[in-house]
């Protein structure tokens, strides 16, 4: 018992991080309406900055490195916090201010872009050799009763509780705090009363970045530093922020500290009882916390009364013509036959990526729901395929079919929370699920290959080996499979089911009034999307002949959502463009080779993503489409004076877009 208590107290360290990041999440959500998933990455980046400042006396900025005299600890911390605030302010000014009226999904995607920038910056600027942070807080062992706990855990907890009390006092007793609460309630009304939501958002970005940075510095002696692991601290932080209903600093901090302590106790129990799963048990907790809170809390989080336009990019009229599909397929075959070596491999990667993106087009573009767990479905199918093909002797079509079926079932299961919650909150739930499955299942060496990877034998059709990687046979197989799926999605858009999906995307209560079974259509849509992702996971397995958990990491899912959004999330053509642009895909690889970006590739694409999001919120495919119609309109105008029905529809769409942009 006393041992459990000791572990619980050791968990104060992690708990404090969750509490602080959770507080930052609540702050940016209240003041700026952004679910800021970049706070973990911000803490990580500032932790690195501090480590280099202390260990090497080097001030490493995103651009430029300066030699510094030996600084006292407090000065080094202040300098790093100043950098954190500057970065937060830049993120606000350059990205979130231009996007202030955008949908919650677009802001979430932009936050993903910030995570990608910070992660690639960390990899680029900080060689991992001297990334251990010297302890700052006194960590002499403290003996209470029979317990031995390092001092720093208590100091950390005290610091975070103090910050939370300060923030609470500020929102209660100051004019700025009152304005912040007013803005969270009703942005328009607060604006009319003379409050500037912009100034408050900027303040929130400053404050939450500084808080994340401070914890990154103070806690990294306990947690260590790693670009990916530390960025993921934001997932438990989101969980506790949801417990605080994205509103209460006190509840968030208490929940954060409690979660950290429980995780630590679970770790101890895991060691004591060998029958407990030995990996990832503690990482499942945040997901359970989110689900239970939403279930108990009635599934309704307070929505912000924002000025934002909740709508997704418009769905194209008309639809894809058979000639377009045929031309794309022919171009694909021609490319497969002409390209060779790594280019063909990149093309095959693109083809598989199109399938993941198609799933996102169905679930978000058509159904209007946010799923950040698409690669989890792909991974589930991939690992099942690996197990079935290596441990059983089932003939060919069976293993992939069983794998995809399981992915569909998993997708339907994930849709159950989507029956009660929607929007960005649903995104947070799926994000929690993605992390939980990744840590609990994908990293479990009993079920997958663990760090060594899971083998998938070569795909053989009618006794002919298709090869993998960049082989022509497999590339063609993948191309035809993906084309069939894409045609299926084009067709789905034209069916009654597709129409019902669009009605749910547009307006759930009106859809119910029209007699549409919302639960049924949602479950079906999630199932279809998971099936597409699962098929992609199967293809990925055959292509790589080996799968590892890194293939299905939550950041891979996030990257795909970002790329599809950028390419055009409401269209099938958007999925095709996204597949080409996806990491490792053809355009990505070609640009890398031609521009010789090398190690700068990651940061350039991350910044490119942000620039494109800010300048082209409707997506590349939508922009292309508009340009084509504009050209067509110009060509036709002299001969056809009256706009045809289709053109009039375009005009309507156009006016609508102008209207939504100006308001």
């Amino acid at each position: 018992m006393i041992e459990l208590l000791q572990f619980a107290l050791l968990g104060l360290g992690a708990g404090t991080i969750y509490a602080a990041l959770g507080t930052g999440v609540v702050l940016t959500y209240q003041a700026a309406g952004v679910i800021n998933i970049s706070l973990g990455a911000m803490g990580m980046y500032i932790g690195y900055t501090y480590a280099f400042l202390r260990n090497e006396n080097l001030l490493v900025l995103p651009i430029g490195t300066f030699s510094m005299p030996v600084l006292p600890v407090w000065a080094a911390i202040l300098l790093c916090l100043a950098i954190a605030m500057l970065l937060g302010l830049l993120a606000y000014a350059l990205v979130f201010r231009p996007l202030r009226a955008a949908s919650g999904l677009l802001k979430l995607v932009a936050a993903v872009g910030i995570v990608m920038v910070l992660q690639s910056l960390a990899v680029l600027r900080f060689p991992s050799t001297s990334a251990s942070v010297p302890p700052i807080l006194a960590n002499d062992p403290l003996h209470i009763g029979g317990l031995t706990v390092p001092w720093d855990r208590f100091l950390l907890a005290a610091a975070v509780i103090a910050v939370a009390v300060l923030l609470w006092a500020m929102t209660r007793f100051t004019r700025t705090g009152l304005a912040m609460r007013a803005v969270a309630e009703d942005e328009r009304a607060a604006m009319l009363l003379g409050h500037s939501p912009g100034r408050l958002s900027a303040l929130a970005w400053l404050g939450s970045s500084a808080l994340a940075g401070l914890l990154g510095i103070l806690a990294s002696p306990i947690t260590g530093l790693d670009p990916v692991t530390n960025s993921l601290f934001v997932v438990p932080a989101l969980a506790v922020a949801i417990v605080g209903r994205l509103r209460s600093f006190g509840v968030t901090v208490a929940a954060g500290i409690a979660l950290g302590m429980i995780q630590s106790v679970v770790l101890k129990l895991q060691g004591d009882y060998s029958w407990l799963p030995q990996t990832g048990l503690r990482d499942v907790l945040p997901f359970l916390v989110i689900v239970v809170t939403l279930a108990v809390g009635g599934g309704r989080l307070p929505s912000r009364g924002t000025e934002e336009d909740p709508r997704l990019p418009a769905v194209p009229r008309g639809g894809t013509k058979p000639i377009t599909v045929a031309a794309t397929l022919l171009a694909g075959v021609a490319l497969i036959l002409t390209l060779d070596g790594p280019y063909r491999t990149a093309l095959t990667t693109s083809v598989v990526a199109v399938l993941v993106c198609l799933g996102i087009v169905v679930v978000t573009g058509m159904l209007g729901q946010i799923s950040l767990a698409q690669m989890t479905f792909a991974g589930a199918a991939g690992f099942v395929l690996s197990n079935l093909t290596t441990h059983t002797h089932l003939p060919f079509p069976l293993p992939p079919l069983i794998a995809v079926t399981l992915a569909v079932l998993l997708g339907v299961g994930v849709a159950v929370p989507a029956l009660r919650i929607r929007g960005v909150t649903l995104g947070v739930v799926t994000l929690g699920l993605a992390v939980a499955v990744s840590e609990f299942v994908f990293k479990n060496p009993d079920w997958t290959g663990g760090f060594g990877g899971s083998r998938v034998p070569e795909l053989r059709l009618f006794g002919v080996g298709l090869g993998g990687g960049g082989d022509v046979g497999f590339a063609l197989f993948a191309l035809f499979t993906v084309t069939a799926c894409a045609v299926g999605v084009v067709w789905l858009r034209r069916t009654r089911l597709g129409g019902q999906m669009l009605t749910i995307r547009a307006n759930e209560r009106a859809a119910a009034a029209a007699g549409i079974n919302i639960a049924g259509v949602k479950l079906t849509g999630f199932g279809i999307a998971a099936g597409l992702a699962g098929t992609a996971g199967v293809l990925l397995g055959y292509q790589q002949e080996s799968l590892a958990f890194q293939n299905f990491d939550v950041f891979v899912s996030l990257t795909y959502v970002a790329v599809v959004y950028l390419a055009g999330i409401s269209r099938v053509s958007g999925a095709v463009i996204a597949g080409l642009m996806a990491p490792g895909g053809l355009v990505y690889y070609a640009l890398d080779r031609w521009l010789e970006l090398g190690k700068y590739n990651a940061i350039v694409s991350a910044i490119g993503l942000l620039v494109a999001l800010v300048t082209t919120p409707g997506g590349v495919a939508g922009e292309l489409d508009r340009q084509m119609r504009w050209l067509a309109g110009r060509r036709r105008r002299p001969t056809v004076p009256e706009p045809s029905g289709e053109q009039a529809a375009v005009l309507g769409e156009e006016t609508e877009r102008v209207v939504t942009r100006t308001t």
Binding site: T495, R496, G498, L502, A514, G515, I516, T655, E656
Partner: protein, 248 residues
């Protein structure tokens, strides 16, 4: 064709009692009005009937009890409503918007859902759009047509379901006097073709001029009920609308 009956319907929001034990009947084949000052609970009553808010009490469509069904099941059972804010589907054309409400669109076996969406040229849809003067805008998006036309699209989407009872939430909001009169004639026509209509409305002219029967709500309770002439001269109604004790 059926009647709608509510028994002891109550709705509370936190500590606020939005509807307190309202029982009322909408007789088969009538055009019935529901009026009341702002905050009287009119829209809450519609929400409670159609399952959009949790309510205590019973809702009957003819002999069938509906109050334990999900909203979409009540719609399929023949109790169809519109919304004050119209709530059109922005990404579907006018024709597609209306088509979503077609009976047989939603309640068939699942494989029917994989057939193509109906287009504007199927007769029943074409006729309805034509009779409402929407045939010229059938292929436009709702964002591209006028407010009056949008209101008609919402009405058409409810009508095409051939409901037994149609609940309309302020269909005349945003219409001018002429359009409102036109709407009144259309609603009488709807009634004559066999649909029972409950009309929630602020436009007194529309209600008192066209309805067979009028219910008055105030403060979540039923205040009065009767023919337009009776309601017009009811002292309680006058007090609620004009203030206590005002001479009339």
């Amino acid at each position: 064709m059926s009647s709608l009956a509510l028994r002891d319907l109550s709705v509370t929001f936190g500590g606020v009692r939005a509807l307190e034990g309202v029982s009322l009947e909408v007789a088969e084949g009538t055009l019935t009005g529901l009026i009341g000052p702002n905050g009287a609970g009119k829209t809450t009553l519609l929400d409670a009937c159609t399952g959009y808010v949790a309510a205590r009490g019973e809702v009957y469509l003819g002999d069938r009890r509906l109050d334990n069904l999900a909203p979409y099941r009540r719609a399929r059972a023949g109790l169809v409503r519109t919304f004050q804010s119209l709530d059109l589907f922005d990404d579907l054309t006018v024709a597609e918007n209306v088509a979503t409400g077609m009976p047989g669109e939603t309640n068939r076996r699942w494989w029917h859902q994989l057939r193509r969406m109906p287009s504007a040229d199927i007769p029943v849809l074409h006729d309805l759009l034509g009779s409402l003067g929407l045939d010229g805008v059938a292929d436009l998006l709702p964002g591209a047509v006028s407010q009056g036309q949008r209101a008609l699209v919402a009405l058409a989407r409810a009508l095409i379901a051939r409901p037994d009872v149609l609940l309309l939430d302020e269909p005349a909001a945003g219409l001018d006097t002429h359009e409102s009169e036109e709407l009144g004639r259309r609603l009488r026509g709807v009634c004559e073709r066999g649909t029972t209509v409950l009309l929630v409305e602020h436009d007194m002219g529309l209600v008192l001029g066209n309805c067979d029967h009028v219910h008055v709500l105030d403060g979540g309770k039923q205040l009065a009920s009767g023919t337009p002439a009776e309601v017009r001269s009811d002292p309680a109604v006058l007090a609620a609308y004009l203030g206590e004790g005002s001479p009339s």
